[in-house]
């Protein structure tokens, strides 16, 4: 027969476990709004009777267990959902950032308003058309010069804004790499802490929650894969290269290119390029470097603007330089004058940012040529060249661009379509990730109603266990104080 004190022990375990239960419920409720918190549950098992393997069989088959013990405090989390979430999060980080930035680029390149290249080009060619109707008038020539300057301003403005954006993306890449390095370091630190803690056999729930948060954050920046090996060590890699192996980290470093200032990302102390294919970092990279129509980025837009600037300069100059300028008292009518300035390296060096009028045209509007022959007393009205110049804006056979207006329109529309497409991708990806978040929350989130019920359960269990204690206490009291007092 087991002793009364054994019964006290049994009741004590009941009290202990219920108390822990209430504490845990308190922990859950307090953390109901904590980001990344996974609800925890007590896993309790009954204690087996210690004389389970007795060599002497008992005549009374009355051994009972020793109460209850907590085997583990577990967190309820789905690893599968975590993995899926992190996969989709990388794509979300990419699309979201790209959609946001393309939207901004669209407001910069605003051709639907009256301030774009389209309008200033139209104004310029309109003034050339007016010029073709009056080769003598100096006011109209001044108009041509002024409208040309306005058109150049539009080109310069776009060029400068886009180059600034490109530099911003470059800096953002650097900042993101710093962020990634911080995350890698802190995950490694958590790895060490969790491993050390769990050596004792307990589960490091709150540390794991923190580590999971860091992993979630990292998954939005680059695409990661991770595994826990047989010893319980976490290994995180990106495109096959390990970044974190338990406490060993491979950080990233950036190094700016000497000419462009653009950062290359290497694994630390190497010159091997960091290999990654998704995430917010990828969005910045594509925007900074994308140069084809399948991979639209700032370089693609700049290339096209440069081509347009070059083409306008070349086509206009080719006609203009065959024309003759208007003479005055001190200068004769000349030919071979360019309207747009051609840099020393030739037309190839012209960009949308440095397109300029020639010094001759800036000096005097008389240097704008209208005539196809030397302008003397008999040729003052000759406007043949001016007519050809005016026709340029209607021509569809120009090298590299076809037609000026159509070219700028097609660039702008391409950007618009890409932006609309990315917006759609971003929206659908957001829906996917939101759905996964919901499912994770459904499994791991704290439900206040549920915790209330748990609390009530533990409360009753505690009350009942203390009743048992009271009963045993009274029994002991009887045994000790009132048994065998006959005749005292």
């Amino acid at each position: 027969m087991s002793s009364l004190f054994y019964g006290l022990e049994i009741a004590k375990t009941g009290l202990k476990v219920s108390q822990q239960g209430i504490n845990l419920t308190g922990h859950n409720i307090s953390n109901a709004n904590t980001v990344g918190y996974t609800r925890q549950r007590i896993i309790q098992n009954s204690i087996e009777p210690s004389s389970g393997l007795s060599r002497i069989s008992n005549t009374e088959k009355s051994t009972i267990g020793g109460g209850v013990a907590i085997t583990m405090i577990d967190q309820i989390r789905s690893d599968y959902l975590d993995r899926k979430f992190r996969n989709e999060n990388a794509t979300l980080g990419n699309h979201n950032k790209r959609a946001e930035e393309l939207d901004y680029i669209e407001t910069v390149i605003d051709e639907l308003s009256d301030t774009g290249i389209s309008k200033s080009m139209a104004d310029f060619f309109n003034s050339v058309s007016e010029f073709s109707g009056d080769a003598v008038n100096d006011e109209i020539r001044t108009n041509v010069q002024q409208n040309a300057l306005k058109m150049l301003e539009s080109f310069h403005h776009y060029y400068n804004e886009l180059t600034d954006l490109q530099n911003t993306y470059n800096e953002n890449m650097n900042a993101t790499v710093i962020q990634i390095n911080e995350l890698i370091t802190s995950i490694a630190t958590y790895n060490e802490q969790i491993f050390g803690y769990e050596l004792s056999g307990e589960q490091a729930n709150d540390l794991r929650d923190k580590r999971n948060l860091k992993l979630d954050e990292l998954s939005g920046l680059i695409n990661i894969n991770y595994n826990v090996d047989s010893d319980g060590r976490l290994i995180v890699s990106c495109e096959g290269t390990e970044l974190i192996n338990h406490t060993t980290t491979t950080l990233l470093e950036t190094s700016a290119d000497a000419t462009t200032g653009f950062y290359n990302i290497y694994y630390e102390s190497t010159t091997t390029d960091f290999n990654y294919t998704d995430g917010k970092l990828m969005a910045y990279k594509n925007l900074r470097d994308g140069s084809t129509s399948d991979d639209i980025g700032i370089p693609y837009i700049l290339d096209n603007l440069n081509t347009l600037a070059r083409s306008i300069a070349r086509e206009f100059n080719d006609i203009h330089s065959t024309g003759y300028t208007k003479p005055d008292d001190s200068t004769l009518s000349q030919t071979g004058i360019n309207f747009f300035d051609v840099p020393a390296g030739g037309y190839g060096d012209i960009t949308a940012g440095n397109l300029a009028l020639s010094t001759e045209v800036l000096d005097s509007v008389r240097n704008i040529a209208a005539s196809s022959v030397v302008v003397d007393d008999l040729q003052s009205g000759n406007n043949e060249i001016a007519l050809e110049l005016a026709k340029l804006s209607s021509r569809k056979d120009l090298a590299d661009v076809g037609n000026f207006e159509e070219f700028i329109n097609s660039i702008v529309v391409e950007i618009g379509i890409e932006s609309a497409k990315t917006q759609t991708l971003s929206n659908s990806q957001t829906a996917i990730v939101d759905n996964l978040s919901q499912r994770k929350e459904s499994i791991s989130g704290v439900s206040l109603d549920e915790e209330m019920v748990q609390m009530m359960t533990y409360q009753h269990a505690y009350a009942a266990a203390s009743r048992v204690l009271t009963a045993l206490d009274e029994a002991l009291d009887v045994l000790i104080n009132r048994t065998g007092t006959v005749g005292r």
């Binding site: 389209s118 309008k119 009056d134 003598v136 007519l387 529309v413 459904s442």
Partner: protein
Amino acid sequence: MRVTNNMLLSNYLRNISSNLGTVGKMQQQMASGKRITKISDDPIGAISSMQVRVKLYKSEQYQKNVNKALTWLDETESSVMELNEVIKTAYETVVGQSTDTMDEEERTAAAQLIKQLRDHVVTIGNARSNDKYIFGGYNVSNAPFEADGSGNIIYNGLDMTDGANAAALDAMEQDSIRYGVGFNITMDVSTTGVELLGTGDDNIYTILDDLYNALESNESNDGLTGFTTKLQDSQNNVLSIAAEIGGKVNRLELIQNRFEEDILTYTDRKSKIEDVDQAEAIMNYKMAQSVYEASLQIGSQIIQPSLVNFLK
């Protein structure tokens, strides 16, 4: 499926935010009057809109050019008709003088009249439109015609009767000023002096000069008959030029009407694509607003109660 408070909250927040976003968008459309503010709002519509804009800008300029051309042609037409009157008067004078009843005194008087007419031809030839000479071909700043005092007419520095200048004068006849009056349409607006007066010895100035000399020297009637034919030929030339100008004016007026219609069409099309229908916009805004308010209301009913309220 297990539902937690956080799920309810985050759903609620997401929906509220999305509804508010729609309200904001409707508000912006109403305030700006534009349906498309960025190309990504409607890429296909934006393409059409941009094409129409370009056409609109250009059409307005071409209209101005057409008006310029019409002014020039107007002036040309009046001058041509004035020349016609000159030739008619000369013709009547010759016919009148071709009877022997005219004596030397009357011949001299007629000669003076012819002399005045002859000099007037130069004035007509030097007519201007907006301070540009209209009959000088490419020469618009200096008077093209000059009488050299010895009975010869100089056009742009070349003596029109000198055979050596025939080729050069011929080349000058091609130098007429063109205006761009439409997409890839240019129109020849000027009539050169050579065309107007006639070539070589058959130009009206020389004819009148010879006639003057003939009358002065009291030429016989037979000598005068040659002039009637020449004057008639001259008049035919002038009238055909007038007809050509008339034709050009007609064509330009048609083009002008066309542009007016086009500008209306383009403006209409641009508006249809870009602008928002005010009535529709207000309705959409009201709907978005009411959806937003409904979601606010429902939220307040979901979030508040929990089990805690019901436990004692």
